[in-house]
C-alpha cells in the first residue's frame, strides 16, 4: 500500500474531495498546514510596523491507497487541485508497511 500526500490550496479541497471520491477513494485525512515556497507571502501592517507573512494557509490531504491505484489517484489529485498559478502545491507518495482498521482489526488492503 501507498500513502499519497498532497499539499494544496485550501479552496481546492472541495474539488479534490470530489475528484477522489469519483475514482473510488473512500477515505482521506485532512490537516490544516502552512506552506512556505516559491509563492512568497504578503505583508501586513499593524500601527505602522510591517509584518512579513511567509507561511500561507494550505491543506494537506492524505490517502492510503492500494499500489495499483496510486497513479490514478495522483493524477486525479493533480487534476483537481491545479489552478496553474504558483503555489498550487505538491503531491508525493510514500510506502506503507502495514495498515489496520481500528474498528475491526482488519489488516492490509481490506483495511483501506
Amino acid at each position: 500500500m501507498k500513502l499519497v500526500t498532497a499539499v494544496i490550496k485550501p479552496f481546492k479541497l472541495d474539488d479534490v474531495k470530489t475528484g477522489l471520491k469519483d475514482i473510488g477513494v473512500v477515505g482521506m485525512t485532512v490537516t490544516e498546514v502552512r506552506g512556505f515556497g516559491r509563492q512568497g507571502g504578503h505583508t501586513e501592517t499593524y500601527r505602522g510596523t510591517e509584518y512579513q507573512v511567509d507561511f500561507l494557509p494550505k491543506v494537506k490531504v492524505e490517502a492510503i491507497v492500494e499500489d495499483g491505484d496510486v497513479e490514478g489517484v495522483v493524477e486525479a489529485l493533480v487534476a483537481a487541485a491545479r489552478t496553474d498559478k504558483i503555489g498550487d502545491g505538491k503531491v508525493w507518495v510514500t510506502s506503507v508497511d502495514e495498515l489496520v482498521r481500528i474498528r475491526t482489526g482488519e489488516r492490509g488492503a481490506d483495511a483501506v
Binding site: F11, D14, R34, H42, T43, E44, T45, Y46, T49, E50, Y51, Q52, V53, D54, F55
Partner: protein
C-alpha cells in the same frame, strides 16, 4: 428640558452609538474569518465619517427650516445651535442634543447596508459611498418625514400627509434595506455563490452582537420619545416584547421547517422583531408589539430564502431582515396605531377604530422611499464604479478582504504566525 429628560436622551444616544460596534460584531461573526475585519471596518467607517458629515451639513439638510423636501443650511457647522449651561432646565442645548441623538441614527443607517455587500466591495468605494449616501439619500428622506419637527412644527411632505415613523422604520430600515438591494444587484454575486457555503465563522460573536443590538435598541426606540415619559416607557415595553416575539417565532419556524431551533435563527428573529417595532414603538400598545414582532419573525424567516430563488447575493440578509422587517412594521402601524392610549393626536389604525387612511399613508411613504432610495443609491454606485470601480479583483476576493483591503488578519492565535519584515 428637564434634567431627567436630558439624562434619558444622553443615555439613549450612547446606547445607539454602541449599536454600531454591536452590528459590526453581529455581521462580522456571520462572515468568514478572512473577511471579518473588512466587515468591522465598513461599520467603523460609518462611525468615523458620518459624525463629521453630519455636523458639517447632514443635520442641517435633514432637519432645519420649514421646507417640504429638504432642509436649509442654517445649522451647518453646528451654527445657531446654542446652549447655555445654566439654562439646562429650559431648552438650552436641546438642538445640540437632537444633533447628537439623530447623528447616532445617521451613523448606523448606512452601516446596515454593509451586511449585504460583504466579501467583495472595494473599501475605497465604500468609503466614498457612505457620505454620498447620507447626503443624497438619507437626508432628503429624513426631511420628508420629520422635516420641521425641531423648529416650528412638522413640514416634511410625507409627515404632513400623515404617515408615521416613530424611530425610523421607513427612514432607516426600509431605506437602507432597499439601498442594499440596489447595491448587491450592481456588485454582483460573490465568487462561488450560492454553490459554496459561508457558514458563520463565530456564532458567539453573532450572539454577542445580538445582545448589544437589543440593549442599544432601547435607546433607539424609547429614546425617540426625546423625554423620560409615558411614551418612552411604552416604547421600551414594545421594544422588549417585539424582540422576544420575533426571535421566538423565527426559531419556531426553523424548528418546524428545518428541524432545529438555531442560534442564528433566533438572533435573526430578534433583530427582525426590533426592526419591525421601530416605526410603531411610540404608537402601539398592549399586545400589539407581540403581533408585530411575530409577524416579522414569521415573514422574514421566509424572506431570507428568497435571494436563492431570485438570484441576488444579499450576503447577510439585509434585504430579508431590514427591508422586509421595516416594511412589515411600518404597514402594521396602519392596523395597530392607538392614539387614545398615548393621549396623542395621530390617526388610529384599522383595528383601533381608525379608517384605512393611515394604512394608505404608510404605503405611500414607503413606496416613495423605496423608489427614491433604490434609484439614487444605484446612481451613486454607478458613479463610483465609473470613477474607481466598486468591486475587488478576483485574487483579492480569494485571499480575503482583510488582507487585501486592510493588510490585517483577524486571528493570530496559533504558534505559526508572522515575523516582522
Amino acid at each position: 428640558m428637564e434634567p431627567g429628560d436630558i439624562a434619558w436622551v444622553l443615555v439613549s444616544a450612547a446606547l445607539v452609538l454602541f449599536m454600531t460596534p454591536g452590528l459590526a460584531l453581529f455581521y462580522g461573526g456571520m462572515d468568514r474569518s478572512r473577511n471579518v475585519l473588512n466587515m468591522l471596518m465598513m461599520n467603523f467607517w460609518c462611525l468615523l465619517i458620518v459624525p463629521i458629515v453630519w455636523v458639517i451639513a447632514g443635520f442641517s439638510l435633514a432637519y432645519s427650516g420649514s421646507g417640504s423636501f429638504i432642509g436649509n443650511l442654517d445649522w451647518t457647522l453646528l451654527s445657531d445651535l446654542g446652549i447655555a449651561a445654566e439654562d439646562a432646565g429650559g431648552d438650552g442645548g436641546k438642538l445640540i442634543l437632537a444633533a447628537i441623538f439623530l447623528g447616532m441614527f445617521a451613523v448606523i443607517t448606512p452601516a446596515l447596508i454593509s451586511g449585504a455587500v460583504a466579501d467583495r466591495m472595494k473599501f475605497s468605494a465604500w468609503a466614498i459611498f457612505v457620505p454620498a449616501w447620507i447626503l443624497l439619500v438619507y437626508c432628503p428622506v429624513s426631511f420628508w418625514i420629520y422635516g420641521g419637527v425641531w423648529g416650528d412644527g412638522l413640514t416634511g411632505w410625507l409627515g404632513v400627509r400623515g404617515s408615521l415613523d416613530f424611530a425610523g422604520g421607513t427612514v432607516i430600515h426600509v431605506n437602507a434595506g432597499i439601498a442594499a438591494l440596489a447595491a448587491v444587484l450592481l456588485l454582483g454575486k460573490r465568487k462561488g455563490w450560492p454553490r459554496e457555503g459561508h457558514p458563520p465563522h463565530s456564532m458567539p460573536l453573532v450572539m454577542l452582537g445580538t445582545g448589544i443590538l437589543w440593549f442599544g435598541w432601547f435607546g433607539f426606540n424609547a429614546g425617540s420619545a426625546f423625554a423620560a415619559n409615558g411614551t418612552a416607557i411604552q416604547a421600551f415595553m414594545n421594544t422588549f416584547l417585539a424582540a422576544a416575539a420575533g426571535g421566538l417565532v423565527w426559531g419556531v419556524v426553523e424548528r418546524i421547517k428545518d428541524g432545529h431551533f438555531t442560534n442564528l435563527g433566533v438572533a435573526s428573529g430578534i433583530v427582525a422583531g426590533l426592526v419591525a417595532i421601530t416605526p410603531g414603538a411610540g404608537y402601539v400598545s398592549g399586545m400589539s408589539p407581540i403581533w408585530i414582532g411575530a409577524a416579522a419573525g414569521l415573514i422574514c424567516a421566509f424572506a431570507v430564502r428568497l435571494k436563492f430563488k431570485a438570484g441576488y447575493d444579499d450576503a447577510l440578509d439585509v434585504v430579508g431582515v431590514h427591508f422586509v422587517g421595516g416594511l412589515i412594521g411600518s404597514l402594521l402601524i396602519g392596523l395597530f396605531a392607538d392614539p387614545e392610549f398615548f393621549g396623542a393626536e395621530f390617526e388610529a389604525g384599522l383595528l383601533n377604530g381608525g379608517g384605512i387612511g393611515l394604512l394608505v399613508e404608510q404605503f405611500i411613504a414607503n413606496a416613495v422611499t423605496i423608489v427614491f432610495s433604490f434609484i439614487v443609491t444605484a446612481l451613486i454606485l454607478l458613479a463610483i464604479k465609473a470613477a474607481i470601480g466598486i468591486r475587488v479583483s478576483d485574487e483579492e476576493e480569494d485571499s480575503g478582504l482583510d488582507v487585501s483591503q486592510h493588510a490585517e488578519t483577524a486571528y493570530n492565535v496559533g504558534e505559526v504566525t508572522m515575523g516582522r519584515g
